[in-house]
């Protein structure tokens, strides 16, 4: 099992709902973030192109809950560990604050919590997914661009909250939040070559990004 999130970058509008919802759900300190939304671009559509021949998209970045997490490998106390569901978690009672995991992470998503003096990062809302709920960044995605699921079951099976257009009668916010939509049936079709990951330096990031008709700028594949 390998829980992960897939983000459709053609749908993401950069509303920062995921960033804000995460902070609220996980009490993330002021100035710290477990997920950020970067604007990538505007970049030229082709070499030498100038405005208006430019393109951009938004890229959500957080812990990628890697298949072979380097942060886990370097942790001297096994505070950073990989769970059976594939998520990478930190046992705060074991963390000695050596910050080698911060150095070993290719994406800079770990940081030292100055108050508790331990390292923190995205937990993929462990407290919610353990009860069958969706991570808060997926639940609150303003564009229905984010989907959560088990990578081993294929990304087509990933789920997000329902979209009003899919609802027959009650299209209320509450009703949509209570139902699920499936990536394979909600999103526009995509090719396998349009599914990307952040750069891989042997850690094998689990999160995927779908980007159509744009040039992927995030490194990796």
């Amino acid at each position: 099992m390998q829980y992960a999130i897939v983000t459709d970058l053609n749908r993401c509008v950069g509303c920062l709902n995921c960033t804000v919802a995460c902070k609220a759900a996980n009490s993330v300190d002021i100035g710290s973030f477990w997920i950020k939304t970067l604007r990538i671009g505007p970049n030229p559509k082709f070499e030498g192109a100038v405005c208006p021949d430019v393109e951009m998209y938004f890229l959500t970045v957080q812990c990628q809950h890697c298949e072979k997490p380097q942060c886990v490998e370097v942790c001297p106390t096994q505070a950073s560990h990989k769970r059976a569901d594939g998520t990478v978690q930190i046992d705060k009672s074991k963390c000695i604050g050596c910050q080698f995991c911060v150095m070993a992470c290719p994406y800079n998503v770990r940081y030292l919590n100055e108050e508790e003096r331990i390292v923190e990062k995205c937990t993929l809302c462990e407290q919610k997914i353990a009860q069958g709920e969706l991570p808060q960044c997926v639940m609150q995605c303003g564009a229905r661009a984010r989907f959560f699921g088990d990578l081993e079951a294929g990304i087509e099976s990933f789920e997000g909250p329902a979209e009003p257009s899919q609802m027959e009668e009650d299209k209320s916010y509450e009703k949509c939040q209570g139902e699920r939509s499936v990536l394979g049936s909600l999103l526009n079709p995509h090719k396998e070559s349009e599914v990307y990951s952040l750069p891989d330096v042997g850690n094998i990031p689990s999160f995927k990004f779908i980007l159509r008709e744009r040039t992927w700028q995030g490194g990796g594949r």
Binding site: L38, R39, E73, I96, M103, Y107
Partner: protein, 305 residues
């Protein structure tokens, strides 16, 4: 990456301690330098203890350090095991030195333990996320650091040492040890210079290892200038890090100690010891300068978070 001073001093003191013990061990392995053994091992152990204290200062929760410590794939665990083994060997070595001559096997063991500890320490920074650290050049640099600072410490001790009555009968008097230590220091300075020049070529070549996304904007840091790792790497020889690299690491850390090791053989006694001591301090200061450069350029492959 922000500077981690405790870790920089940790690696510096480990290099000093292993270098001093390793050079003393080499001389003992060659059946030389009986009179410098005890002060050299004492200096080495003091340096290792200081290194250990520096590493503890880095830990935010050192009180939990032994609560579950021992994950073997962790460089920190490997370093701890290496330091414990080193300390045990050094204490046995000290006992042997106090009893009389250090046997040759103990000398070679001291050299091996010292080299292994430096390699373990270097390997703990070999993280694929940070290409500037993830190279055997770091091993070479730290080994040359250890050899240079250690040889200069032994050189200073041998300049002050009174010839041992037994060894003075033969050709292995303290002047011979002094000359040999100077040669070792000169060789280590050349090795440091080679490691630094290799790094000067290597670092700019790393640009393709870092992700480029063109223009970007982080709304959580709206006024922050865009990071440009490629630009910093390709321009590090002439940019912000140039002074630290050329004057600090290269001139102060390699050329000055090398020149001192070359000319010190024309001096004697306290003058020679002072020259060697100052050269050792220069070597350590230069080594610290390059550690600052390594941290400043120790970006991860994806820097935009």
């Amino acid at each position: 990456m922000e500077l981690q001073w405790p870790l920089m001093f940790f690696t510096l003191f480990i290099c000093l301690g292993t270098g001093t013990f390793g050079v003393a061990g080499l001389l003992a392995g060659l059946n030389k330098a009986k009179e410098i053994q005890i002060p050299a091992v004492v200096v080495s152990l003091i340096a290792i203890v200081l290194g250990g204290l520096a590493s503890f200062l880095h830990l935010e929760h050192w009180d939990r350090a032994f609560n579950g410590f021992g994950h073997l794939t962790s460089g920190i665990t490997q370093e701890l095991i290496g330091i414990v083994v080193f300390a045990v060997v050094a204490i046995i070595y000290l006992v042997l030195a106090r009893r009389g001559a250090v046997p040759a096997w103990a000398g070679w063991l001291a050299l091996i333990v010292s080299v292994v500890l430096v390699i373990i320490m270097s390997a703990s920074y070999g993280m694929s996320a940070r290409p500037v650290w993830d190279t055997p050049l770091l091993w070479l640099y730290y080994l040359s650091n250890a050899a240079l600072s250690g040889a200069l410490v032994v050189l200073a001790i041998s300049a002050l040492a009174k010839p041992d009555a037994e060894s003075a009968k033969g050709s292995q008097g303290s002047s011979a040890i002094f000359t040999l230590s100077a040669k070792l220091a000169l060789g280590a300075a050349v090795l440091t210079l080679i490691a630094l020049l290799a790094y000067a070529v290597f670092i700019p070549s790393l640009s393709p290892s870092f992700t480029s996304v063109g223009n970007y904007f982080d709304p959580t840091q709206p006024t922050k200038v865009m990071d440009d790792p490629q630009g910093m790497l390709s321009g590090f020889l002439t940019g912000d890090q140039a002074l630290l690299f050329w004057v600090g690491a290269l001139v102060l850390g390699a050329l000055v100690p090398g020149a001192a090791a070359f000319f010190v053989t024309r001096q004697q006694g306290t003058t020679a010891a002072s020259t060697a001591g100052v050269a050792a301090l220069c070597a350590l200061a230069g080594a610290l300068c390059f550690r600052v450069v390594l941290y400043a350029l120790g970006f991860s492959v994806f820097v935009f978070y």
